[in-house]
């Protein structure tokens, strides 16, 4: 079982996300995360899916997804040739006494404190999955009240792999 990040460029039509996620559920493929957002050209949407399976399955996934009418382009984002980022918003319970400890950890990770109240604060952290996991582990001593993660978005490095569409 290995992990794969795939990037799709799809027509920005209503229901396109449901068509893609429907394909995954009907064929029993895993989705670890899926993110979608409109591209610089509003006719298209960029979708990043993190999935897993053995080699045959990963191969099938790409072929099946490519068959969908809405899908313009599909490519695997290999770790060595790509950057991945995820955003996490973490609400931590903390009083004024311990607040500095958390801020210190956040600084090391270049995380931002974006909201402070008397007994809690919200941290914004961007990075790849490992970085977010590592940060959450370091917060072990604190109570995490709420956690919102966006899932991975990614792009290939350099200009070789860029798809231009008419």
């Amino acid at each position: 079982m290995q992990k794969m990040v795939i990037q799709l460029l799809v027509d920005n039509t209503s229901g396109v996300l449901s068509r893609i996620s429907g394909l995954f559920s009907r064929r029993g493929y895993n989705i670890e995360s899926i993110t979608a957002g409109v591209t610089a050209d509003p006719r298209f949407t960029r979708i990043t899916i993190v999935t897993s399976g053995d080699t045959d399955i990963l191969d099938q996934i790409q072929k099946q997804v490519a068959k969908l009418e809405d899908v313009r382009d599909i490519k695997e984002l290999k770790p060595q040739d790509s950057v991945y980022r995820e955003l996490a918003l973490i609400k931590v319970k903390v009083d004024s006494e311990k607040r500095q400890n958390i801020i210190a950890i956040a600084d090391i990770f270049r995380a931002k404190i974006i909201d402070v109240s008397l007994d809690s604060l919200i941290i914004e952290l961007t990075g790849n999955q490992d970085k977010i996991e590592a940060f959450l582990n370091l917060l072990g001593g604190f109570e995490i009240l709420e956690l919102a993660r966006t899932g991975t978005a990614g792009l290939g490095r350099g200009t070789d792999n860029v798809t231009y569409l008419p």
């Binding site: 559920s25 009907r26 064929r27 029993g28 493929y29």
Partner: protein, 548 residues
């Protein structure tokens, strides 16, 4: 014990007596295990009708109806039946076989993604991937189907899961679902608001829908209306909330309803929708204005409130529960003048109708459809179950059926042709002591006539009435008015079978009404005969339901 045995045990624990279905390899383990029980299995002739039969069974027994078919085409054939039940909030448990777990997604023989396909027609669906989940899934499925706003739940079970050994079978006594907790009790603050507005109302009216019947709250509704003198109109699904001759009952509303019922609803200053979803067919008639009245909307489904019309006072909860609270209110409503006005509207209509009937000449060999339904309903038992199909026959039935203490079943939301015969069979099997009749047209009859075989095999005493006009009358009528008689795709006169021969082929009795004069006698004699039969009457193809 294997998975298939566990499924059967779950059905037994839920008190299931009847399973309608059709086998196939992917569901064979289940149909093998069910032989060891007292649960009666009914081999239907096409899967869609398994769902319709289960629907008829559910509506009369008050328990979820169960149907069970194989994977692939078996499952996809079931979809129309599921959608029909969903549109009318009928509780069904639909079990489908599925290909082996490891083959799912590889397009093997008879594989269909049925949970995906029915997503928009079910209250919930499951694909069981672990044999040990069977007891919990069935407990939840029955709970979801039969509580809150009722509806169909589908359970898809791969064949290998049915054959796998289950480590320990224990049927849960209770359901614990964090995300599913339908509201039962109505909010008292809202109920007090209703009391305040109701006492100021001059022209109050209740529009009762199928939700009242699903909640078994017909009696409470009648008591509530009587206590405060509030007239009642009903939607198509609400037919039967009150006897037709009740002084406060004012007919069916909607674009196919009675003009006086619509007028009553439109002229009211205080309108209570109870267990009605305020659908397009009910309120899309000229003159309905939600703005000039106090609008109370009582429904078990919060999503129905405000979907089609904004309510002044919304109340979410079980209709029966809320009616009980409303019944305990102490206040007086001065509606006598209003009740008399509505009586005058009805009287004027009756006179107009009588005049029209007199004008109409009785034709040789044909019968008047309204007169036919009226005559038939006058000859039925007080508590008979009348199952109307879809099309003109449905509207003639709605308009002329005289409700006593019986039930009126039809496919209201989806308008699925061919519903009446399988649903009537299910209804009769749910309560064999009641008289059950199916009334359909020649179009809808041909959509489900294969079930005559099932009816014969099960020896179900269902009387079938076919109003034969040799056309698809509802569409013809639409083309008559909208397309100026530019008729297309409506002619059934060529190729349709001789119903007397169909009856003979299936070994059931048959009679044709040849004139209005002998109609009463013919129906009477037909109803007295034992066993299933077809009574056919001829209707002129250009009869219309508009302005009926």
């Amino acid at each position: 014990m294997i998975g298939a045995d566990a499924i059967v045990k779950c059905l037994e624990a839920e008190g299931v007596e009847m399973v309608y279905g059709y086998p196939g390899v992917a569901i064979c383990p289940f149909y093998n295990s069910i032989l060891n029980t007292d649960i009666h299995t009914v081999l239907i002739r096409t899967e869609q009708n398994a769902a319709h039969a289960a629907s008829g069974y559910a509506r009369i027994s008050g328990k979820p109806g169960v149907c069970c078919v194989t994977s692939g085409p078996g499952a996809t054939n079931l979809i129309t039946g599921i959608a029909t039940a969903f549109a009318d909030s009928i509780p069904l448990i639909c079990i489908t076989g599925q290909v082996d777990t490891q083959l799912i997604g590889s397009d093997v023989f008879q594989e269909a993604d049925i949970t995906g396909a029915v997503e928009s027609f079910v209250k919930y669906s499951y694909l069981i991937r672990d044999v040990n989940d069977i007891p919990r899934v069935f407990k939840e499925a029955f709970h979801i189907a039969s509580t809150g706003r009722k509806g169909p739940v589908l359970i898809d079970i791969p064949a290998d899961i049915q054959k796998e050994t289950i480590s320990k079978f224990r049927y849960p006594e209770e359901v614990s679902m964090r995300t599913y907790k339908p509201t039962v009790k109505g909010n008292m603050v809202q109920i007090k608001k209703v009391a305040k507005q109701l006492s100021a109302a001059k022209r109050p009216i209740i529009c009762a829908g199928g939700g009242v019947i699903l909640a078994g709250a017909q009696e409470k509704l009648r008591l509530f209306a009587e206590k405060f003198g509030i007239p009642v109109v009903s939607t198509m699904m609400g037919i039967g909330v009150m006897p037709s001759d009740h002084p406060l009952y004012n007919g069916m509303v909607g674009n196919n309803g009675r003009a006086y019922a619509n007028r009553a609803m439109n002229e009211s200053d205080f309108l209570m929708f109870i267990g009605a979803r305020v659908a397009d067919r009910a309120v899309s008639q000229n003159g309905f204005d939600a703005e000039n009245k106090t609008l109370v909307h009582i429904d078990v489904d919060p999503a129905e409130i405000g979907k089609n019309v904004g309510a002044t006072i919304p109340i979410v909860g079980d209709v029966g529960c809320i009616l009980e609270d409303l019944l305990s209110l102490e206040l007086t409503v001065d509606s006598r003048k209003w009740v008399d006005t509505l009586k005058d509207y009805r009287k004027a209509f009756a006179e107009y109708k009588a005049g029209k009937e007199k004008e109409k000449q009785s034709l040789d060999g044909q019968v008047d459809p309204s007169l036919f339904v009226k005559t038939l309903s006058s000859l039925l038992d007080e508590d008979a179950v009348y199952v109307a199909d879809v099309g003109q026959n449905q509207i003639w039935s709605c308009g002329n059926y005289v409700m006593k203490k019986g039930r009126f079943l039809t496919s209201g939301g989806m308008g699925t042709m061919g519903y009446s015969i399988p649903a009537a069979m299910g209804a009769k099997m749910a309560d064999p002591s009641r008289q059950v009749v199916a009334v359909c047209g020649d179009g809808s009859f041909q959509m489900s006539m294969m079930e005559l075989a099932t009816i014969q095999q099960e020896k179900v005493d269902v009387k079938i009435f076919v109003m034969n006009n040799q056309v698809l009358g509802m569409v013809r009528e639409h083309q008559h008015f909208v397309y100026k008689d530019h008729f297309s795709m409506i002619d059934l006169s060529v190729g349709s079978p001789d119903l007397s021969k169909i009856a003979e082929a299936y070994g059931i009795h048959y009679k044709k009404i040849t004139s209005e004069k002998t109609m009463k006698k013919d129906i009477e004699a037909f109803l007295k005969k034992k066993g299933c039969g077809i009574l056919e009457c001829s209707i002129l193809p250009d009869e219309v339901v508009r302005g009926m």
